[in-house]
């Protein structure tokens, strides 16, 4: 197996706030291999966005602290990089698409100004000389790639003059203007309508596949993740509880949380809606001991309250953090 492009190992992120310490991330492990499309799913407040922001080191520190863990990008720990190195990576190698394209674009500059800035500072290899003409052409080409009609005119527009779907296309073109190797998309379709979302995401998938870019797709919409990714991580209350091939995991979820989550989604087959999961996501100031899901779990055993479950391998490419799947030989010495 090839060397992973990005590997997050046992990442903990805490926030120091007035009431105490919010222990949000509780050991996140995640691997992205070159060219792989990975999904990260979970409900509101489970730490998806915190994970993503720590990859880019975008978390304000303080209040955030990272007491434990590593984020290794191409063999180097991002958390220990100098700011110049980090800048270079942000500019050339990892790019990002945010949930709300209206908030991601600056309302007082035209699309042209913002896009051309991105070209200028991204160090795009295709540009030998950075003349104004070249930069502008590259920006127009970028807009053409995301099938925006009449790109010359769009360059003159302010973000407010575009529709939500067009704005998100501009954001995608900006993220893909560098020949980046990793794209982090944080809920890229959530603010869009169904038919528009379908168009934008189909476009994103096409572009990513054509360039062989790796992508981490963060979303709470499981259907969308199913259509876009090869492998998926399910997150609950600050840690990854299950990972596997997207299709397999969605047809055969093993962790009680994943089961509840998938069961709760209304299906087109119309067999009624599952019961959902009782209770709610725990407080991060004083999270439950052991497995953080145990207060809501119907299969809870005494060991769940004491120890954090490690990953148990169920089969090739399907791992789950739940004591239900502990076999005789498995050790729990990891913690």
């Amino acid at each position: 197996m090839s060397m992973p492009l990005l590997e997050i190992k046992n990442l903990h992120v805490w926030f120091k706030v007035f009431g105490g310490i919010l222990k949000v991330l509780d050991g996140v492990d995640l691997i992205v291999r070159p060219g792989e499309k990975v999904g990260l799913v979970g409900e509101m407040g489970c730490g998806k966005t915190t994970t993503m922001k720590s990859i880019m080191k975008l978390l304000p520190m303080p209040p955030a602290i990272i007491p434990e863990g590593e984020i290794i990008y191409k063999g180097k720990n991002i958390l220990k990089m100098s700011s110049e190195e980090l800048q270079r990576i942000r500019r050339k190698e990892i790019s990002m698409i945010f949930e709300d394209p209206t908030a991601a674009l600056n309302p007082v500059f035209t699309i042209g100004e913002q896009l051309q800035d991105a070209v200028k500072y991204s160090g795009s290899e295709s540009l030998k000389t950075k003349t104004k003409e070249n930069i502008r052409n590259r920006a127009i080409q970028a807009l053409k790639e995301v099938s925006l009609p009449d790109p010359e005119r769009v360059l003159r527009y302010y973000p407010l003059q575009l529709s939500g779907g067009m704005r998100q296309r501009v954001c995608i073109s900006m993220a893909l203007i560098t020949s980046s190797e990793l794209l982090i998309a944080d809920e890229p379709g959530t603010s869009l309508d169904v038919t528009i979302k379908d168009q934008v995401l189909r476009l994103l998938k096409e572009l990513v596949e054509k360039r062989g870019t790796s992508i981490i797709l963060i979303s709470h919409a499981l259907g969308l993740v199913r259509g876009m990714t090869d492998r998926v991580y399910v997150m609950y209350a600050g840690s990854v509880v299950e990972t596997g091939k997207t299709n397999k995991l969605f047809t055969n979820p093993l962790h009680p949380y994943s089961q509840g989550l998938l069961d709760a989604i209304p299906k087109l087959t119309g067999d009624g809606i599952g019961e959902g999961i009782s209770g709610r996501i725990p407080e991060y100031i004083n999270p439950p001991s052991g497995c953080r899901f145990h207060p809501r779990c119907r299969y809870v055993k005494p060991i769940c309250k004491e120890k954090k479950p490690p990953f148990f391998k169920v089969n090739e490419d399907h791992e789950v953090k739940c004591f239900k799947f502990q076999k005789k030989g498995d050790e729990i010495a990891k913690q």
Binding site: S163, D193, Q199, L261, I265, K267, G270
Partner: protein, 324 residues
């Protein structure tokens, strides 16, 4: 469609609501007609800006309809709520989309639930009122110590439960649910939906369920209507609607839904790929408003607006392909 007027709780005919703005006339709702039967869940689906919420607000009386008639149990209520009889207001209730902004942050849950009881004289005695409020909270499975909490102290799902309890406080027979779960997580959504289904059976309620989530509609609605730019494109009983969608827009919507299993994937119409943007409701295209995005356009579409035709028992569609 054989209409038994006695069976219909709500009759809407040719409802129009325009907003006059400086940019022009916003044709939010442009001549829609439908009927809701007793104890039925009627699903109204559409993308943002299609006018579904305007329909809801016109029915409860927040807006005065520009044209058209709303009949509730045979009584004409096509006017603003302050001009409606008090007894009718009690009958029609609404649950809003965002539970965060539909509950007053400076009132306790108890005060919030007390108001409808007071206004509509449901319970006259103030001591009995407290009992009734506790009963309402118990009904939506919230602990009784929530009585003295403020909305900001409880979770989003719990706030929506309070919103539902408030709507049911006056013992209505018709409830409008305006995207009640779209701001919530799926596991909480499942709980709320199951509760709503239970209440419907228990209290014989009719629901107008507004949403953009077609998969959700599939599971709870008896009949579904699709709205596009202020007009209804297609109305059909739910199973028929999903088995045999006729309007090109419906087909586009259905094929755009992201699903999580292979069985669902097979139910989607494959042929239609979504394209184009939703036009602004100030500047609606001539003829059929969908013709710019329609993959099966014929010349007449850009000239004449199609009329609603009944294709099959209860299955109506507004498209030139089906007008003969």
């Amino acid at each position: 469609m054989t209409k038994l007027p006695n069976n219909n709780i709500l009759n809407i005919s040719n409802l129009v609501k325009y907003f006059y703005t400086r940019q022009g006339i916003v044709r939010a709702v442009d001549g829609i007609s439908f009927a809701i039967r007793e104890r039925e869940t009627f699903g109204l689906v559409g993308e943002s800006g299609s006018g579904k919420s305007t329909v809801a607000y016109t029915i409860v009386g927040t807006y005065n309809p520009t044209e058209g008639k709303i009949l509730y149990k045979g009584q004409d209520i096509s006017r603003e709520s302050r001009k409606r009889p008090q007894s009718l207001k009690k009958e029609i209730q609404i649950v809003f989309q965002d539970p965060g902004s539909s509950l007053n942050p400076v009132r306790t849950i108890s005060q919030i639930l007390e108001l409808p009881l007071k206004v509509h004289d449901v319970v006259k005695d103030s001591k009995e009122r407290i009992n009734k409020i506790a009963e309402l909270l118990d009904m939506v499975q919230l602990p009784s110590d929530y009585l003295y909490k403020y909305p900001t102290m409880i979770g989003g799902g719990e706030k929506q439960m309070v919103g539902i309890a408030r709507a049911l406080a006056t013992d209505p027979s018709f409830v409008i649910l305006d995207e009640p779960t779209s701001a919530l997580d799926v596991s909480i959504q499942a709980k709320i939906i199951n509760m709503l289904v239970k209440f419907q059976k228990e209290f014989n309620l009719a629901y107008l369920f507004i949403t953009h989530d077609l998969s959700l509609m599939r599971n709870i609605a008896d009949r579904v209507a699709i709205m596009y730019l202020g007009k209804i494109c297609e109305i059909a009983p739910t199973s028929e609607f999903f088995k045999n969608p006729l309007h090109p827009y419906t087909q586009m919507l259905l094929s755009s839904i992201p699903v999580i299993t292979d069985e669902e994937e097979e139910l989607k119409p494959k042929k239609i790929i979504s394209k184009g943007e939703i036009p602004s409701p100030v500047n609606i295209p001539s003829g059929c408003s969908f013709h710019l995005r329609c993959p099966r356009k014929i010349p007449i579409c850009s000239k004449d607006d199609p009329i609603m035709v009944n294709v099959k028992e209860g299955h109506c569609v507004r498209c030139h392909l089906f007008t003969r």
